[in-house]
Symmetry: C2
Subunit: 657 residues, 2 copies
Amino acid sequence: MSVYLHDIPLDQAKSVFQDALRNANLWQILAVEEIPLDEHAVGRTLAEPVWAKMSAPHYHASAMDGFAVRAFETNGALLTAPKTLVYGEQTTYVDTGDPLPEWANAVIQIEKTEPVTAAGELDENVRQPYGIRIREGTTPWKHVRAMGEDMVATQLVLPAGHTLRPFDLGAVAGCGHVSVRVSKKPCVAVLPTGSELKAIGEPVAAGDIIEYNSLVLAGQVNEWGGDGIRFPITADRFAAIQETVRRAAVDHDLILLNAGSSAGAEDFSAHVIASLGTVLVHGVAVRPGHPVILGLVDRTDGEGVVPIIGVPGYPVSAALTGEIFVEPILARWLGRRPYEPETIEAELTRKHVSPLGDDEYARVAVGRVGDRVLAAPIARGAGVITSLVRADGLAVFPAGSQGQPAGAKIPVRLYRTTAEIDCTIFAIGSHDMTLDLLAQFLTGRGRRLTSANVGSLAGLVALRRGEAHFAGSHLLDPDDGSYNWRYIERYLPETPITLMTLVGREQGLIVPPGNPKGIHSLSDLVSQDVLYVNRQRGAGTRVLFDYHLGQAELTAEQITGYEREEFTHLAVAAAVAGGRAECGMGIMAAARALELDFVPLFQERYDLVIPTEHLNSDLLRPLVDLLQDGDFRADVGRLPGYDVSLMGMIQTKNGIV
Amino acid sequence: MSVYLHDIPLDQAKSVFQDALRNANLWQILAVEEIPLDEHAVGRTLAEPVWAKMSAPHYHASAMDGFAVRAFETNGALLTAPKTLVYGEQTTYVDTGDPLPEWANAVIQIEKTEPVTAAGELDENVRQPYGIRIREGTTPWKHVRAMGEDMVATQLVLPAGHTLRPFDLGAVAGCGHVSVRVSKKPCVAVLPTGSELKAIGEPVAAGDIIEYNSLVLAGQVNEWGGDGIRFPITADRFAAIQETVRRAAVDHDLILLNAGSSAGAEDFSAHVIASLGTVLVHGVAVRPGHPVILGLVDRTDGEGVVPIIGVPGYPVSAALTGEIFVEPILARWLGRRPYEPETIEAELTRKHVSPLGDDEYARVAVGRVGDRVLAAPIARGAGVITSLVRADGLAVFPAGSQGQPAGAKIPVRLYRTTAEIDCTIFAIGSHDMTLDLLAQFLTGRGRRLTSANVGSLAGLVALRRGEAHFAGSHLLDPDDGSYNWRYIERYLPETPITLMTLVGREQGLIVPPGNPKGIHSLSDLVSQDVLYVNRQRGAGTRVLFDYHLGQAELTAEQITGYEREEFTHLAVAAAVAGGRAECGMGIMAAARALELDFVPLFQERYDLVIPTEHLNSDLLRPLVDLLQDGDFRADVGRLPGYDVSLMGMIQTKNGIV
């Protein structure tokens, strides 16, 4: 057969697959199983409704510790004209939960009775006195839990399709059941294939990829109520993959064949599926994840077919293929509603362009700044698993929309609760490694820190647009050696701002171990024809570099690689470590982290620029406290190249506070 | 010691307990354990941050199938002036994911190249031709996934306190880890005590209670990340309970001692805890659940203490004690954020009075009717586990508030997602057993049916206030024998209404098996001095009863028990079955369900009264469809005493549609 890859719309792909499953009697609960009614039934989905086998309570029960009575015999009792009921004839003691005697129809709480002797004295035999004196009448069925008050035999207690919660089990037990009939857990084989894959823990060389998609897919399957079974890695050979699929098609309900789903020379998935069954769909108009395959293979040991999904190899594509295709099938097989995430309406922080023909699932960071809920796209490729880790939700840009302008209100399917969103501090601006530590310490104080690294200047611009709670900034004023105020006055003239100093830090040149080119100053960059890697325009480090270039009477044109921009200190260090550049400017900590050499040149101050309205909010209080916290200061002080003596210094426009 | 029970405010109780735990070094992660990085790590909470051990990618990788090049050598290539790069010298083939050769800095997609021979002809050796012809230049790092694009070695990948999701595992594996350090699962002993308790499956007599609180509590503990261990039932003897607690205090982190937490004669919990340690709190001002005990017992086999909670016996109290006291401790021990449910603002459908001194946790049904989100309190006692099962959320009425008036906006902590709330059909009015079947069938069609049984008239009044999507009603017009329209015109004169008939049903007298008093008509109720149980005012069955009383020239005063009201057919049948009454009027199905006799007297029609605006909504479409569905009709037809011939008949004010 010839492999084609022709993207069809998502809805169409789903309905082709569903129709095929329906024809194979696989668009329904797979099987019913009866399991004991114990705590492990939580999370299972009822395959059949639960009807009450007996009433609860199954008898009339006293709802109080007290005395059972006939209500009409209490009529007329008054504070000033008490009545006495004779024990054994007109009343008897009952504890909470005791059955009511046949003749009784109400209970009087013990504290509303006086035990008395025949002579009318207080009786010491409190629970079996001669009689009880009451000073108030009662009404029928008062303080009685009538039979069936909770559940009446034969009533519906829980519908089929309901996923059991802890207290549901109580109700099922309470109406007389000892087991529950639930849908069988679908058994899903996860098949990693690829000659470049290495299992977790195996040594890796250049070109090797750590295989973790099967971990993500099996984890998803388990979370959605199935049973994910990871297979060992199969090499990229047609016969080997075919054999693995044949083995999986014996005793699994669904097969996820990971990678090789595209149309390249070593993409065998479609061929294998065609050789064992039918390729129904190859290519869906969805990004990331478009080279997905939906098919059926013949069951190896008997009648029928096993659905198979060719899952694309990029990790974000693989995880989203799970959400888009696997979850709804598991929901159907379990007989439960498909998972529907909480959705929030958020304002897009910047224009987002999406491919015309595809539904695009963009990962976004979500935060509440003032009254606005903001969604900032995490603009990274399908290979970047951390774009999912950092995402607070998914924004779906439907095919044909071509994206949305900045400020557009878009629905976001949340990965977090709105409570988590509400405790998120949205940071933007320059990157500093201390922010990682800050994030870690904030987690311990009930806050989440989300930071977008766009550079110092872009951070101030974002603050002006009200898009963050603070911006990290280290912008030098070349005139007076001060930090940040000059730029704040230019970019945020109207906004009351407070500066809190995070750290002082050393900036310098990051070079390979041993400093092979012997670089000791900016002019060496030119004289040694060094391949430089720069920071992006607007970054404080870029400003610093340009300033000192000018001081050294050098120009950008003289620096080879000046136009190559990275967005963080660590990315610069990684470029040097990876041989893509011979030198870059950054902080000492980044150099040390990747075991590179560092040529210190300048000291600088890194401040948090905080709109004063946010500074005093509940949300930011833990941040402000942390900058005075001894443990945090000590941990930061241990990082190489940092000076914590100014940490927590507060300044307003009028000077240090 | 003397047992006292003096309710203190919830916040105070929590802080007393927390201080004691803090002093015992138990207000922190209990222990760290290292577990393998496999799919079972999902749901575990990181005890330490995850820092990247290696970068991802850990080498510069081609992002496309194509040819690696030096970007500067492609400069100047044009559609009309192609350039040829010599294979092996200037270019080499790379698959997606392959490492970039040292000398290369960009990749050109295979489809943008032409393989050529030295003579400039097309080369058949597509991937290793003599050379490639290109008609467009490229830029450095184009189609390259640079080392560290996803994660840079040493960066923070996930903070401590983060609960692992499937794709988090991918990131942790991708940056070189083979295991994760997570907080140990707290081990929680759940100890049911009580001589009246029977384990699930044991036979029960009057006075016995099926023990299921331990099931609910253990299920909760597991769901919150702990390990719930159920102990067998211990009888109500001080020494036996003391011994069980001593056994649990060997190797558990927390003990939940269920029931006996009040101050009654057989409530041993506080005494036992005092004998083995300290009672810190006995009684918290929270309803349900106030007789809670918070304490510490000495660890049986060594140093230190084990926290113990005396959990009240009523099932709703027990489950809420779990939510209020146990969950936050587990969160602290796991190092994660306490669970914060989604909260929605809803309008209270009716006045709710709550006890002045206590925080009250009221279970409410929540639904969206038109533009309003409504919360209807499920006004039932702490013994009614189904009040939790049916609840869509909890409304907290804080101490001192004394409740709220109808229409007040209150925050509701949801038990369901807002997506589930949005697919909820809110029904009110008269009860019919067919509604249980309807609920079951609607579940299969993506809808949830929540019904409040208030009787036919109250249902119409609720519709007038816009508080439901439909009302079930069977109100006879005594003048012309028609159903419902007369009352709709009186109560809903302004609202366009459509009636859909659900069923025709037989009404009659429900009597004990064998009809011992020989009742065959309403006049027999008087002549035989029968103890009657009535339906509440406004119920269609009550209207029918009153009408026929009048026809038989009888008065309410002649009927013994006329004033005793039940709210459903099944409750009336249960009253007869339980001996609380000798007769009640209701439907045949209710009598049959409890194996009672039935004296048929009248036929009546049960309709769904639907405001026309809702009838045509997406929400109600599945309901409308169901009334035309053969399977549903057949299932209802199988219930005794029902006539389905009119099912689905549609009427408006102007007649049958």
